[in-house]
């Protein structure tokens, strides 16, 4: 009898081992799948975007004649001079064979429309340049930049390209004279948004996101933790607290755009706060992250062993002292984890911001939470919608900046959590 039983077990043993192995393979392949998708995503973002950190510049010999500055170089004549005309003249001198009106206007398009302001700034800083011929590195137009990065195929029929054959020939001629160079794209990190891709930068969106996330953190963390402590430690369980709990759980699952609508109705329509400001954006994102923070904070409080509370109460601490001195420090790492998740979510969110008007085209860099601005995800959304080729790489570059930003914010909170972590 017992022999038979052992045999039955032995027969099934191989099958059971196989099942075990198969189960492990399923789990492993799920992880490999996930990692592969992540690598693909990061890989394409990087391959598309790393070129945005380089920008093409064209060296032009520019003669700043005295006559351009009304004979004498006063601050006023330097501010008023026709720098566009000076650049155009220099381009004509470089390509004297270009005579037709249409060709000339194409020739002028090699240089960015923002180059004249760079030149003005340069001359204002160094007035001694007037009356001399100097080589300046001029910001190239976005089409030239895209061509230099090898993303325009000259084999495509000319009428299907924005960059014509003649322009390509000019670029090649300049290149042969070592007058075309790709330099590190500082403008991308110091400029606000622009309609011209070569002048468009990410700083406006970074500052907008920074202010919004600061407001979110300052509002959502204290309110969320206070609500969690009250609900978990002090509130009695009745129908009313049940109702609140269902509502919090529901709000954590509601699509984020609902919070945008809430912000639109309350902050903009009722309180008449201005549109497009990071303060309102931060308040809306705080509403969105509150349920996440409350739920995870309550879980962290519930995970503190009851013996700690009982011991504190036993030596005569009041309930408030028990919570503040003993329970809260132990629950803090869990609360911070919830905050990380909430803030990371808020940082990547764009739908509620679109609704409260943070999608406007804003060139100025916000200097405070009350200045109009955009946020990084919204900027990515805006650039992804733009038709210019050069915005493709800038979209990917902005995604990389957003990822870095996320890593930085999360890293900060992980450090905080490490500091508070205590074992018992």
């Amino acid at each position: 009898m017992s022999m038979k039983q052992t045999e039955i077990i032995k027969q099934g043993l191989a099958r059971r081992y196989n099942a075990e192995r198969r189960f492990r393979i399923y789990g492993l392949s799920a992880i490999i799948c996930g990692v592969a998708f992540l690598v693909f995503l990061l890989g394409t973002t990087f391959v598309n975007g790393y070129t945005a950190f380089l920008q093409t510049y064209i060296a032009l010999d520019i003669t700043l004649a005295d006559s351009d500055f009304d004979g004498d170089a006063t601050a006023e004549s330097i501010a008023r001079a026709d720098y566009l005309g000076i650049i155009k003249r220099s381009l004509r001198e470089h390509f004297p064979e270009v005579t037709k009106r249409r060709d000339k206007s194409n020739l002028y398009k090699l240089v960015s429309s923002g180059a004249q302001y760079d030149l003005r700034k340069e001359v204002a800083e160094n007035p001694e340049l007037i009356g001399r011929t100097t080589t300046f590195w001029m910001l190239a137009d976005d089409e030239v930049d895209v061509y230099m990065k090898g993303r325009i195929d000259p084999a495509v029929p000319e009428k299907n390209r924005r960059l014509k054959d003649r322009s390509i020939a000019w670029i090649e001629a300049l290149k042969a004279q070592d007058r075309v160079e790709r330099k590190f794209n500082i403008l991308f990190f110091t400029n606000g948004d622009s309609r011209e891709p070569e002048q468009a930068g990410i700083l406006g969106a970074v500052m907008g996101s920074l202010f919004a996330i600061l407001v979110t953190m300052l509002l959502a963390f204290p309110i969320g933790v206070a609500a969690a402590i009250y609900l978990q430690e002090f509130a009695s369980r009745n129908r009313f607290t049940d109702l609140i709990e269902v509502n919090i759980n529901n709000l954590a699952a509601v699509p984020s755009i609902i919070f945008g609508l809430l912000g639109l109705a309350i902050f903009l329509n009722f309180f008449n706060l201005p549109r497009s400001i990071p303060l309102v954006g931060g308040m809306v994102l705080a509403l969105m992250t509150l349920p996440t923070i409350i739920i995870s904070s309550r879980a962290a409080l519930a995970a503190v062993p009851p013996s700690i509370r009982e011991a504190a109460l036993g030596v005569g601490a009041s309930p408030v002292q028990t919570v503040l001195h003993h329970v809260l420090p132990l629950a803090m790492p869990g609360m911070l984890t919830g905050t990380i998740i909430g803030l990371a979510q808020a940082l990547g969110e764009s739908a509620p911001l679109l609704v409260i008007g943070m999608v406007a085209f804003i060139v100025d860099i916000p200097g405070s939470p009350l200045d109009p601005g955009t946020a990084l995800p919204v900027q990515i959304y805006l650039w992804a919608d733009s038709p210019e080729r050069a915005f493709v790489e800038r979209t990917s570059a902005a995604i990389m900046v957003l990822l870095l930003f996320l890593v930085a914010v999360n890293g900060l909170i992980v450090l905080l959590r490490k500091k508070f972590e205590r074992r018992w």
């Binding site: 269902v246 759980n249 529901n250 609902i258 764009s350 679109l354 609704v355």
Partner: protein, 76 residues
């Protein structure tokens, strides 16, 4: 939200997942971007869509809560 970039705009009542459809979020965003009076029909339509989304998640949550209550095992 991410669907705003991926989903289309054409309302299309179909069960085929390969046909282009629109989503409620996309409709809300397209209704609300731009300058409208707060009580314009467009804005109100967006709020109605938002309410629908909210009610759907509420119903799902209530169902989920009941499922959890039913199968939750109490050890203490």
């Amino acid at each position: 939200m991410n669907v705003v970039m991926a989903a289309g705009l054409a309302a299309n009542l179909t069960a085929n997942p390969f046909e282009s459809v629109t989503t409620v979020t996309v409709q809300i965003v397209t209704l609300l971007i731009g300058d409208q009076e707060f009580d314009s029909p467009k804005t109100l339509a967006a709020f109605a869509l938002g309410l629908v989304l909210f009610v759907i998640t509420l119903i799902l949550n209530v169902i989920a809560l009941q499922v959890v209550r039913k199968y939750k095992e109490q050890y203490e």
